[in-house]
Every structure is written in C-alpha cells, then in structure tokens.
Amino acid sequence: MIRGIYTAVSGMITQEAKQEVITNNLANVQTAGFKADNMVVKKFDDVLIENCDKLENGKNKPTIIGSLSRGSKIDGTYTNYNQGDFENTNSTTDFAITGKGFFTVQRTDASGNTKNYYTRDGHFHVDNKGYLRTDSGDLVLGLNLKTNKEEPMQMGQSEVGVDSNNNITLDGTKAYRLSVNDFSDYGKLKKQGNNQFEGDNPTNITNSKGLAISQRVLEKSNVDVTGEVVSMMTVMRSYESSQKVIQSLDETLEKVVNEVGTVR
C-alpha cells in the first residue's frame, strides 16, 4: 500500500521533469539553430515479490507472486539534430548549413583562454573592429584562404558574398571559408546555452565536397510545435492520473486506519 504511493510519486516527478524539457522546447520555438530535446523515461528495475502464507508440513513455504515495477525514472535527454526550416533574411552576414556540420565560434574567457564552441545558428554580424561575431559576441572562425590558417574572420567594411564553393568573398575576392566541424557521435555533444554546443574531437569538414553554405538564410528552431503541445497535454494528464492514484491510495489507507481498525 505504502509502496504504491512511492511508485505513483516517482511517476509524478518524472512527468514534472518531462514538462520542464517540453517547456524549454516551446520557449525556444523562435531560437535560430535550436535543436529540440526529448526526455526519455525508463522504469526502475522490477523486483520479485513473494509471500510465505502457504503452510506445508507446518512450515511456511515461499510462493513467488510475480514481478513488480517500482515506478519510473529519468533515463536521459536526447537531442533531435534534424535540420530546422530555413528562413530568408535580408542580411549578408546570415548563414546556414544544409546537412551536417556546425559553425565554429571562439570564446575568450575572463583569464584570456580561448575555447571553441559549435553552433548551427548563423546569425552573425560585423563588430566595430570589423570581426564577424555571433549574437553572444563570440568570434566566428574561418579558414583564411591566403594563409590557410583558421582564425577570426576580418570582414571590415566589405560587401560579403558566398560563391558556389562555399568561399566567403569580400568585395568579390575570395578571402575565407567558414570553419565547419562535425562530430561522429552527436550524443556526446553538450548544450551550452547561447545556441552553442560543446564537443570533443571535432572533424573539420570545412573543405568537404558535400558541404553547402547558404547566405541570407537562417536555420530556424526545429521544435515541432504541434508535437510539443500534444506531449504537454499527455504529460499533464499522466501527471493527473498519478495524482489520482495517490489520492485513491490515500482514501484506502484512510479506510484501513479509521474503519477497519475501529473498535466498537
């Protein structure tokens, strides 16, 4: 009886956590380059239950009744890396990658160390020193076609363009290539906020043939609004059922305590 309450409560807590993930997806429905998360629920390992009510030769004999689940738990959050819709924009510094890969951006922390992060959000702008930056102020890395080095992209005042070989042209002259990295295991990528991912062992695919970078285009969030709203409803009702289970367990307990146990 009491165990039932804990089982139902574990259900309520996991549904609550699932609702957090869904809410975050819905909150980021307009975030460029956002990838939706899905929380997966798993049941706790079953336990075997048995009783010793049966008497054989004056001794209690254990009888196996069956297995019992002790409720549900959070198994993990899986990110859906499907491509989001593309939206045309007016800006020459908006880019999007068709297919796999992430733009590489560089962040400098307070102590001057730089670290690379990866993003699908190609909403960039030119800062007052002429460097291409993300909305969070991180430098966008590119392959300098003259020196063949990866470095922050200096756009200056030039007219930015992209040719069919993914070269960034400044006033019509090939100058850079946006540095693009991919990962063999997306499961190991960690979301960092700021539309960025953190990951180890990137594979540089800047010069890969299959890569296609479009200009004046932004990749929108890949959140499926209808699906998320439906899950939101399901989660709420499932939470409600667990709550009802607890309530009826409580009522039964009340009967046990107040009626069965009454001495008249």
Partner: protein, 261 residues
C-alpha cells in the same frame, strides 16, 4: 515545477522584447532614414536533472546525460543597414545618401551627430539647419564660413561627390564639401531618435568617398511591412505558447497541492 514556470516566463519576456522591436519598426515605417532593428533569441544554460529527489539513471555525465534547458533570452537588437528606397522630392533642401555612410550635423551644444537623411532649410543666419536647429556640417574651403557664404533658399547645389556650389550673378563658386562618414561594424552607430545617430564608443569613424550625396531626394525607411507582420504573428504565437506552458505548470502545481484533500 517552479522551473517550468520560470522557463515560461523567460519565453514570455523574450517574445515581448521582440514584439517591442517589431512595433518600433512598424511605427517607423514612414520615418525617412530609419533603419530597422532585428532581435533574435538564444537559449539559456542547461542544468543537470541529477538533483535531489529526482529519480535519474546512473548515466549522469556521459552521452545523452539528463539535462534540461532553462529558457530563452532575446539578443541585443542589430541594425539592418540595408539602404531604403530613395524617393525623389525635387526640393533642394532634401539631402540623402546613396550607399553606406552618414552626413554630419552639429547640434546646439556643438556636439557632432550623424544622419542618413535630412531636410535642411536656410535659417536667419544663412546656415543650413534641420527642423531641430541642427546645423549641417560642411567642410568649407577658400576662407568661406556660413557667415560669408550667403546661402539662400535656392542658390546652392550639392553635387554627388559632396561639392557644395553657390550660384550668383558671377556664376558658380565652390564653397566647400559635404563629407560622408562611415564606421566599420553593423552596430557602429546608435540610433538616438529624430533621425540622428551617434557612433559607439569603440567605433572608428572615417571619411568615405565611395557613397554619393543625392540632393532632392529622401531615403525611406527600410522596414518591410510584410516581414514585420509575419514576425509579429509568430512572436505572438510564441508568447501564447509560453503562456499555455505557464498555465499547464500552474494546473500541475494545483494537482500537487490537491494531493492532500
């Protein structure tokens, strides 16, 4: 559950600051020289679900670890520097720029401000001033100043390269140049209102010759109504979704509250 409420609130705040920007853009649809601003979004930090009271699998550090995001925030507005359409007015007093850059004016306290477009009338002292008494900054030559150049309503011409000519009975005299200034960076100039801009503290303003002065025309704002309307619809729906999540969270909290009758 309180996390869900806070996440929904961040989403509503972000959507309303985007809405602020959209309404600013739409209300300046008819403002000459106005440049639209664009607000985008970014997600907030992710936190682990491996916290007290949460039943989580042993997998809490490796691949697909259990994390949840904490919402969304709007980014600072980035100015869209695309040029608006140039509308011919035929009035000599209307000055605009084809290409990048700004013309310079001086306000009453002799501060330098910048503008994309302006209608300048000749005031009592013979100076070219806009409706807010800001004086057009001309680089005078040959010892000329506003005091001795003798501007009248219709005796001056400004050429494409900025050359300012005054015609009188002796023919045309060059009195100076109207220079165009520009700075690197999309957000190098800050909009002050009244059609005026000021450079950001770290912007390097320089003189440019690659743009042209167009006398007798006005640059319309570069706001595209259709785009703003579409943005407005999606933003409103995003706000609505966030308020629905908030409502759901509230209902769920109510259920938790009702566990004990």
């Amino acid at each position: 559950m309180l996390r869900t409420i806070r996440t929904s609130v961040t989403a509503m705040q972000a959507a309303s600051s985007k809405m602020d920007q959209i309404s600013l853009n739409i209300s300046n649809l008819g403002t000459s020289g106005y440049k639209r601003g664009a607000v985008e979004f970014k997600d907030l930090v992710y936190e682990t679900m491996n916290r007290k009271g949460y039943p989580v699998s042993a997998n809490t550090t490796g691949a697909n670890m259990s994390t949840n995001g904490t919402g969304v925030v709007s980014t600072t507005s980035i100015m869209d520097n695309t040029e608006g359409e140039l509308e011919l007015t035929g009035y000599k007093s209307d000055i605009s720029i084809s290409g990048r850059g700004y013309i310079r004016v001086k306000d009453g306290n002799n501060n330098t401000l910048y503008a994309r477009v302006g209608s300048f009338a000749v005031d009592a002292k013979g100076r070219l001033t806009d409706s807010n008494q800001n004086i057009l900054d001309i680089r005078f030559e040959n010892g000329k100043t506003y005091d001795n150049a003798n501007f009248t309503q219709d005796n001056y011409t400004i050429k494409e390269d900025g050359q300012v000519l005054i015609s009188d009975k002796n023919g045309n005299t060059t009195v100076g140049h109207l220079d165009i200034y520009d700075a690197i960076g999309d957000n190098a100039f800050r909009y002050l209102g009244g059609g005026l801009y000021a450079p950001a503290s770290d912007a390097t303003v320089y003189r440019t010759t690659s743009s042209k002065i167009v006398q007798g025309s006005v640059e319309s704002s570069n706001v595209a109504m259709e785009q703003e309307e579409a943005d407005m619809i999606t933003t409103q729906r995003a706000f609505q979704l966030a308020s629905k999540s908030l409502q759901t969270a509230d209902e769920m909290l109510g259920m938790a509250n009702n566990l004990r009758k």
